[in-house]
């Protein structure tokens, strides 16, 4: 019998998770790797045998640059230019996201670059119409 119970799709579930401060992914029962953000299939081995998991939000910020103003997407016009970074999550996945805790100026970004990789913590950034993933670094 097909399960006909209404369910939340992976994409809606991810953003609903963000609204509640949760960072939802899937983990593969076949190879043990994480896929983040979540789909219905392991991005590493192609297995469909996956289950939902929540990530810690602990990360290392590897590099940080900034976007342009006005932003390419109207959702981000209010905060542009914003800092955008390349991170490695504690659980393994590589992620790019908005970075909080540093200004989008060449001077601040150069000082950050010279510090090398720094710890970062995921948080939810509430835009007008959507909660989005961001990471905060401390000085």
């Amino acid at each position: 019998m097909q399960n006909t119970t209404e369910r939340t799709g992976a994409i809606a579930g991810y953003y609903e998770g963000l609204a509640a401060g949760l960072f939802r992914a899937i983990v593969c029962k076949s190879c043990g790797s994480h896929t983040f953000p979540p789909t219905g299939c392991c991005e590493h081995c192609g297995s469909w045998d996956v289950e939902p998991v929540e990530l810690s939000g602990d990360a290392t910020l590897l590099f940080a640059t900034h976007n342009i103003s006005p932003a390419c997407h109207p959702r981000f016009e209010k905060i542009a230019p914003y800092v955008y970074g390349h991170l490695r999550l504690k659980e393994g996945p590589i992620v790019q996201a908005i970075i909080l805790g540093v200004d989008a100026t060449p001077g601040d970004l150069q000082r950050l670059f010279e510090r090398g990789p720094v710890p970062a913590k995921a948080e939810t950034l509430q835009m007008d119409d959507l909660p989005v993933l961001a990471f905060r670094i401390s000085n």
Binding site: I11, Y14, P37, E43, L62, F63, A64, T65, H66, N67, I68, P70, A71, C72, H73, P74, R75, F76, Y82, Y84, G85, H86, R88, I94, V95, Q96, A97, I98, A104, P106, L109, Q110, F113, G116, L130, V132, L133
Partner: protein, 426 residues
């Protein structure tokens, strides 16, 4: 996979429009998208000594249908190109479109299905249909261009959460390159200036390029005696994703390109010298495009390896290289991954003039995505067009002195499909 073509396949004709703006640029001003495409197709068919009725199939490429508004392109363009009643398909691989089309044509020919295939690509990234007019066009805003273009990028999680091309394709790659190779931001900036200066030099020698003004002349027009002063001015060349600046990027364009692909034995005695399509490789990836090291892109490496294996070449055989250079630093990284440039030395090579048409590592002699300009689905065909001209010795003032026997063309179809094709002299 066997990764072999069972029959020798050649490019027997190439064509390409002027790149620019259908509302402004003299050679194409006032053209419809149908006429723009037909001009490139006519040049390619004339070059091959054929008409549209001589081909078996037509692969019609167009990525951003929002601005072109000609889906079902094969039939809508058929009476403009003389190709009624042919087999055909409208397809896209974004900015790799036309070269993926060349690969599909080679497969169809080597499989014994078709003898001759016409591949063309058309795109308008500067102008769009005005209202419901059949012929009037209007400019596209910067934000609209990226909203439409970025529809090819992860729409579940990437674009909705702040992705933009400037950070991911430029700034983060630049920082990865500097840290990996111990290059200062100052040296990086100087190197990027030289890459831009070289591409603009090439554009200045190409009557089909979007920008035909040398960087030095552009700087002088605004009173800068030293072009590096112009480069560093916030007004003229702002950071779009620190440490990457505006002039290290793509410029948008309206344009079209075309090529005729056929069996090698059928091209003998044709109108122009055919060039062999020796091999190709294609590999795609969703975001993120790279792991911890922003300078190494796994899907590109796979496409490169597949193409070189099919063609039976190594990097040492390459006489001319184009790598996708919407982002100049990404294009340098790809050239290093290919092995055409030494790892970490790409910007030094630019400063030494080695990437110029008359240098020992010539690259992107048409001007690349910055100077030649970028019309997404049409651009890969312009890269192939340039390589064919160079291999025939027909590139005029920008001709590479040692006519290349092997050319390699790499393109990134947003976002991302790494595509590599290898061309060889017969």
């Amino acid at each position: 996979m066997r990764n072999k073509l069972r029959e020798q396949v050649v490019i027997s004709g190439v064509g390409c429009s002027r790149f620019g703006n259908l509302l402004e640029t003299p050679e194409i001003k006032g053209m419809s998208i149908q006429e723009l495409t037909a001009s490139a197709v006519k040049e390619a068919l004339d070059d091959a000594g054929l008409t549209g009725q001589d081909v078996d199939a037509v692969f019609a490429g167009n990525a951003m249908v929002h601005s072109s508004q000609v889906p079902g392109t094969y039939s809508q363009l058929s009476k403009w190109t003389g190709t009624q009643f042919k087999a055909g398909v409208h397809f896209e691989a974004q900015c790799s479109t036309t070269n993926v089309g060349a690969a599909m044509a080679a497969m169809a020919i080597a499989a014994g299905v078709y003898d001759t295939v016409l591949v063309y690509g058309l795109e308008t990234t500067r102008t769009k249909v005005k209202g419901h007019s059949p012929y009037e066009r209007e400019p596209i805003s910067h934000q609209q261009t990226w909203l439409w273009t970025d529809m090819a990028v992860n729409q579940a999680y990437g674009v909705p959460q702040g992705y933009d091309i400037f950070s991911t394709y430029n700034g983060l790659v630049a920082l990865g390159y500097c840290r990996k190779h111990g290059i200062s931001i100052e040296d990086f900036d100087r190197g990027m200036f030289e890459v831009c200066r070289t591409r603009r030099l090439h554009g200045s020698m190409n009557p089909k390029a979007n920008i035909q003004e040398k960087l030095e002349d552009r700087a002088a027009r605004d009173g800068f005696g030293d072009p590096f002063g112009y480069w560093q001015s916030e007004e003229h060349n702002p950071f779009v994703a620190w440490p990457s600046r505006l002039l290290s990027l793509v410029t948008t364009a309206d344009g079209a390109s075309a090529m005729v692909i056929t069996r090698a034995d059928l091209a003998k005695g044709g109108r122009s010298r055919p060039v062999e399509l020796k091999g190709f490789g294609v590999s795609y990836s969703d975001l993120p495009w790279y792991g911890e090291d922003p300078t190494f892109w796994e899907f590109d490496k796979r496409a490169i390896d597949a193409a070189f294996d099919m063609a039976g070449i190594t990097a040492a055989d390459i006489g001319y290289l184009h790598t996708h250079d919407c982002s100049h630093i990404s294009g340098i990284c790809t050239a290093e991954t290919i092995g055409y440039l030494e790892a970490g030395k790409g910007l030094d090579a630019a400063r030494e003039g080695r990437l110029r048409f008359d240098g020992d590592r010539p690259m992107s002699t048409h001007g690349g995505r910055h100077a030649f300009g970028h019309a997404w689905g049409a651009s890969a065909g312009t890269d192939t067009y340039e390589a064919v001209l160079q291999m025939r010795g027909q590139a005029g003032p920008r001709q590479i002195p040692k006519v290349p026997d092997i050319s390699v063309i790499h393109t990134h179809g947003y976002a991302m499909i790494g595509t590599v094709i290898v061309l060889g002299s017969l």
